[in-house]
């Protein structure tokens, strides 16, 4: 019996030594060589090799990924028992930690995103009494407002009715961002190392960051912006001119038009999806053919000062474009900036351009505006 206890004590001692040494040793091993250690478990090899051909090639796995003892033990269990998922993907509970780590290097972009509407939390989206009292929540809401949430809507919110009061039932999710960085950016991707934004600015056309991609929660995959489709939309029977800027294909995934409703004139005439249907904001009228990102900042969607990119201060009418009666100046305006037309104000005919002397002078001195 004494001998048994002696062996048991030695075995326990070895186990503790292995656990402590193994944990710290493994941490050191995995952090070295930018993740080559992680790739030695062959199920991780694809993830590591892809990121090694991407801009984050010089970033170690654990600079982004959380690697607690519990995570390591979970990985070890999966490795030993061979219960490896078909696709190794981020779990929804791991997303906030990763997004926080994005901030370490991309402070400006993170702050900009945080200041904009796309940093909205699960609670703000799914426990909103104004929305929920009018429309029932459903799984498809998660397509754009919870791409990384792995369950269904009934796992997230209760009650599923229009009476409320609504609350987020998944622990720890209420204050999490519903649309994290990875909703629109693919980190593990094949591609060349990107340069700093300043040297990416192209004179030949829109510079498209290779990271831009839509995370499709059904497929649990990113689709690169360049592979996404830009729909052909109509204003009545007329096909609207739409910018083919691939960056805005990403916007269309969520700010998407609908097929005409059964019984509508558009459906009867087979005109196709109409501008402004669903959550579409395709510009028409004076802004027709302009890309979303010509006016909207990519991270906070702000349009502040964007008018000056194209307009001289005064319009051809002699009115400051930023003060015109549009939703740019006031959200309560009846003239949505996306669809405003000259004829909306000039209902009895559009007058000839009335350019004040000051604007003429400005036009003469503005590069590219003087003919």
């Amino acid at each position: 019996m004494k001998r048994f206890f002696k062996f048991a004590a030695i075995a326990a001692g070895i186990a503790v030594l292995l656990a402590v040494g193994g944990t710290y040793g493994a941490s050191y091993y995995y952090t070295s060589q930018y993740g080559q250690g992680c790739a030695s478990c062959h199920e991780m090899a694809t993830c590591v090799s892809v990121v090694h051909s991407a801009p984050h090639r010089t970033v170690g796995c654990m600079e982004c990924h959380e690697a607690s003892l519990a995570t390591k033990l979970r990985h070890m269990r999966i490795h030993i028992f061979g219960t490896i998922p078909e696709n190794i993907r981020l779990r929804d509970v791991d997303v906030p930690a990763i997004a926080e780590n994005c901030k370490t290097c991309h402070q400006h972009e993170y702050a900009s995103w945080h200041a904009g509407p796309h940093s909205v939390t699960y609670s703000q989206v799914f426990a909103d009494p104004v929305h929920n009292s009018k429309r029932m929540l459903m799984d498809d809401c998660l397509r754009c407002h919870g791409m990384y949430f792995s369950g269904s809507i009934r796992d997230l919110v209760k009650p599923l009715n229009t009476k409320g009061p609504w609350r987020i039932i998944r622990s720890g999710f209420a204050d999490q961002a519903a649309m994290p960085c990875m909703a629109c950016h693919q980190i593990h991707r094949e591609g060349t190392q990107e340069t700093k934004a300043a040297s990416r600015i192209s004179v030949a056309g829109a510079a498209v960051p290779e990271s831009l991609a839509f995370y499709d929660r059904r497929e649990t995959l990113h689709f690169a912006a360049a592979t996404l489709s830009i729909p052909q939309l109509h204003d009545g029977a007329r096909a609207v001119t739409i910018s083919q800027d691939p960056r805005q294909a990403l916007c269309y995934q969520c700010h998407a038009p609908r097929d005409p409703e059964t019984g509508s004139v558009a459906a009867a005439n087979a005109w196709g999806p109409q501008v402004g249907s669903g959550d579409d904001r395709t510009p028409m009228g004076v802004h027709e053919g302009i890309s979303c990102v010509s006016c909207h900042d990519g991270h906070n969607e702000n349009t502040r000062a964007s008018c000056k990119t194209c307009h001289p201060q005064m319009s051809h009418c002699g009115i400051d474009v930023e003060r015109m009666d549009t939703t740019y100046a006031s959200a309560s305006s009846l003239h949505n900036i996306h669809w405003v037309k000259c004829a909306d104000c000039h209902q009895h005919g559009i007058p000839k351009p009335k350019t004040p002397a000051a604007v003429k002078a400005k036009l003469r001195t503005t590069p590219g505006m003087n003919g």
């Binding site: 001998r3 002696k6 062996f7 030695i10 075995a11 070895i14 292995l18 030695s40 478990c41 062959h42 199920e43 090899a45 694809t46 090799s49 490795h79 490896i84 078909e86 696709n87 929305h131 429309r135 498809d140 839509f214 499709d216 059904r218 497929e219 649990t220 995959l221 689709f223 690169a224 592979t227 996404l228 489709s229 729909p231 269309y252 995934q253 700010h255 998407a256 038009p257 609908r258 999806p273 402004g276 249907s277 669903g278 959550d279 579409d280 904001r281 939703t327 740019y328 959200a331 309560s332 305006s333 009846l334 949505n336 900036i337 996306h338 669809w339």
Partner: protein, 180 residues
Amino acid sequence: MPSSKKPKRMTRRQFVAAGTMGCAALAVGCKEGNHGNWDFLNDAQARTLTAICDQIVPEDDFPSASQAGVLTYIDKQLARHYRRHRDIYRDGLAQAGAMSRERFGQEPAALAAPQMAELTSAIEKQNRKFFDLVRSHTFEGYYGAPRHGGNRNAVSWRMLGMAEPPVNGRAQYDLRKGSA
């Protein structure tokens, strides 16, 4: 009659040595399990299978089977749901390699397109079961859901004119009535 011999007990030294050797064997075993980027196939099998799959779906205006990730699909499935087909793949790929070396003196991956087409026809005749399996798995990988490893970037669906992910809005707001 009870034996007078006492059972031989492990000494402490033997116990520690056995434990150390066990750990070392585990570590070596883990290392030997490394298949590179594949779950089931080895690199040589993957090269042969690439050559066969690319005969079934060759590159034109759209990517070939291997470019669309069909190999990844087949490899993942052989490591999981299609374990029952492993022997057919092992034997079929070995046979394809042998036929190629015998006829052309080269591995299938090194053959020119006409030679590979000839080899693929020969495989179809001599090992119909293997060829039919590869063909149906190639189609599954090329036209199936991208989440399973094939149909990279939903390329075959776009070839068929289907937008993926679909641009599909909801009737949440009526923007024409007011704010941006």
